[in-house]
């Protein structure tokens, strides 16, 4: 009797989770069929099929440039934020120093403060420094938002790591940089790599700050999509969304593989 009722509850819970999983994943997938519609409308389901919106996406310079801008900014942000964030995480993990708590809160604060509040301040500064619509401006601004997403995973992987290995290397005569490169870095590499992926995704996804610091000369892909959605009915947005979806799914799978590998090592 008892066993039957528990199987019933377990089945119910699984059914509920299946429904939630559909709710989580299915809505985004609607952009895939829509991107193959044959008419310039968002009607769903489409009445016929064509690949014209992909042709449009990959031949229209404004769409192509925004994709290129997003990838360029994203990769640069991943580099800048990963280098700065890894250095900061190493500092936090290796020794105690005055102001440690305050500095940690400062570096993680961009994760909590609403982006729009920072965005108006950055907009005001960029207006004055002529940084609107520049790669430099985008990279610097996105890097600050991405920094916490590097520090957290790198710090986590540094905490699960035996410090005596570094001492051993030092005893064997290795210099600090050599020790870092040959002992520390390989051991924390999964954390650094997932931090870099997070940094790229943060930049690649960012809309609101980018809306403020964009210019007609430099629009990232989400900004291009946003202004397109508010202006007209152009299924090229759906094609762009599908391209992004494919890219981020590939990144997720990559990140999951890294995580699984890491949990196997430990």
């Amino acid at each position: 009797m008892i066993r039957r009722s528990t199987t019933f509850w377990r089945a119910l819970l699984l059914a509920f989770c299946a429904a939630v999983a559909v709710w989580l994943v299915a809505p985004s997938l609607i952009v895939v069929p829509l991107s193959f519609t044959d008419r310039a409308s968002f009607n769903f389901p489409p009445s016929g099929w064509s690949a014209q919106w992909y042709t449009n996406f990959f031949t229209d310079p404004s769409w192509l440039w925004s994709l290129e801008a997003s990838l360029r900014v994203g990769v640069l942000v991943a580099i800048v934020a990963t280098v700065c964030g890894t250095a900061a995480a190493v500092a936090f993990s290796r020794t105690r120093f005055f102001g440690e708590q305050g500095l940690r809160a400062l570096l993680l604060a961009p994760m909590i403060v609403p982006v729009i509040v920072v965005a108006i301040g950055i907009y005001a500064i960029y207006l004055r420094l002529n940084l609107l619509g520049t790669t430099l401006g985008f990279v610097v601004a996105h890097s600050v938002l991405a920094l916490p997403f590097v520090i957290v995973p790198v710090l986590a992987s540094l905490q699960g790591f035996d410090r005596r290995l570094e001492d051993a290397a030092a005893i064997c005569g290795a210099r600090r940089w050599t020790t870092f490169r040959t002992v520390t870095l390989p051991l924390v590499a999964p954390g650094v790599l997932s931090g870099a992926l997070f940094a790229f995704a943060t930049s690649f996804d960012e809309v609101i700050l980018s809306l403020f610091i964009q210019s007609p000369y430099l629009q990232t892909l989400p900004v291009r999509m946003y202004s397109s959605v508010t202006r007209d009915t152009d299924p090229t947005i759906a094609a762009a969304a599908t391209v992004i979806l494919a890219l981020t799914t590939a990144l997720t799978v990559l990140a999951s593989i890294i995580t699984i590998r890491r949990s196997r090592v430990h």
Binding site: A21, P27, A91, R94, A255
Partner: protein, 298 residues
């Protein structure tokens, strides 16, 4: 190197004579390693925030003018209230959907867990813009959601350009932020405690209320905090799924700064949003700390 010296010289505690050369060098190294990040955060985070605070009190004239305007404006008060209620609704929906989901992630075998984890991570990584656009398609007039609702006899329900549409979109987008902290806490709970209570004769409902629910509270708090705070600053989703008539605070800030060029008013609203975020954060953190202390003492 000079900046590091300034840092360590000005900020380091007086060094005792017993401190080894190595320890001192390590600490100086720590400041050097932090320098790039700190410069970045000061330049593009602290200075912009300070500038915004300055402008809220000085633009167009010095004084509290922007704040008295904000407090006195009926529309702004309604927008603020709506931002809060929307955030609360989204948080409750995420909790109701996310709690059983996170529970299933720890209750079933590794295969189900891996599947459920992947299904929650895929949307977590999917672009916010893509997900919002998908909801624009789903909720549009005569769109799929509309068709389904008419088929089951719910008739003509307007979804896009309403607050209901905003809540639906936001709760779907923020759900992973509830599930992941809940899962992290639940995975750390010794499930034998529940078994022990039931072997002592507690009914399932009793052991859930007395044992499981209190132990998962830190996860509920952390998840609710993440969802609620993110929802306060949401811009893209309410801008595309809602309408100017049911705008949230970040949309109003955008309008003030970008369309009306009312920098002072926009900055003042930014300060209000920032303060509210910190108040919510502080209250929930205090509540969580008190809850964990009570748990330790009992």
């Amino acid at each position: 190197m000079t900046l590091v010296d300034v840092f360590s010289g000005g900020a380091a505690p007086p060094q005792s004579r017993t401190e080894t050369e190595g320890a001192r060098r390590r600490r100086r190294g720590a400041y050097a390693l932090l320098t790039p990040s700190v410069i970045l955060v000061i330049g593009v985070f602290v200075v912009p925030l300070a500038l915004m605070l300055w402008r809220s009190f000085t633009d167009p004239v010095a004084g509290f003018g922007n704040f008295t305007w904000y407090m006195g404006d009926e529309v702004q008060r309604r927008v603020l209230l709506r931002t809060f209620t929307t955030g609360l609704e989204v948080t409750v929906i995420c909790l109701v959907l996310g709690y059983p989901y996170a529970y299933a992630m720890v209750a079933f075998g590794p295969k189900v867990r891996a599947m459920l984890t992947l299904l929650v991570l895929v949307p977590f990584w999917t672009s916010l813009m893509v997900r919002t656009f998908a909801w624009v398609i789903l909720l549009q007039d005569n769109g799929p959601a509309h068709t389904i609702l008419s088929l089951i006899g719910l008739g003509d329900v307007q979804l896009i350009r309403t607050n209901l549409g905003v809540v639906i979109g936001m709760s779907q987008i923020l759900l992973p932020f509830m599930v992941l902290p809940l899962y992290a806490v639940m995975a750390g709970i010794d499930r034998k405690l529940v078994l022990a209570s039931s072997s002592l004769g507690a009914r399932p409902l009793t052991s859930f209320i007395r044992i499981w629910a209190p132990l998962t509270m830190p996860g509920v708090g952390a998840g609710a905090l993440m969802v609620f705070i993110s929802s306060l600053g949401f811009y893209v989703t309410p801008a595309l799924l809602g309408s100017p008539d049911n705008a949230l605070i970040s949309q109003q800030i955008y309008v003030q700064v970008n369309s009306l060029l009312q920098w002072g008013r926009g900055a003042a609203m930014g300060v209000v949003l920032l303060l509210l975020t910190f108040v919510v954060l502080a209250v929930l953190m205090l509540a969580l700390r008190r809850a964990s202390r009570q748990e330790q003492s009992s």
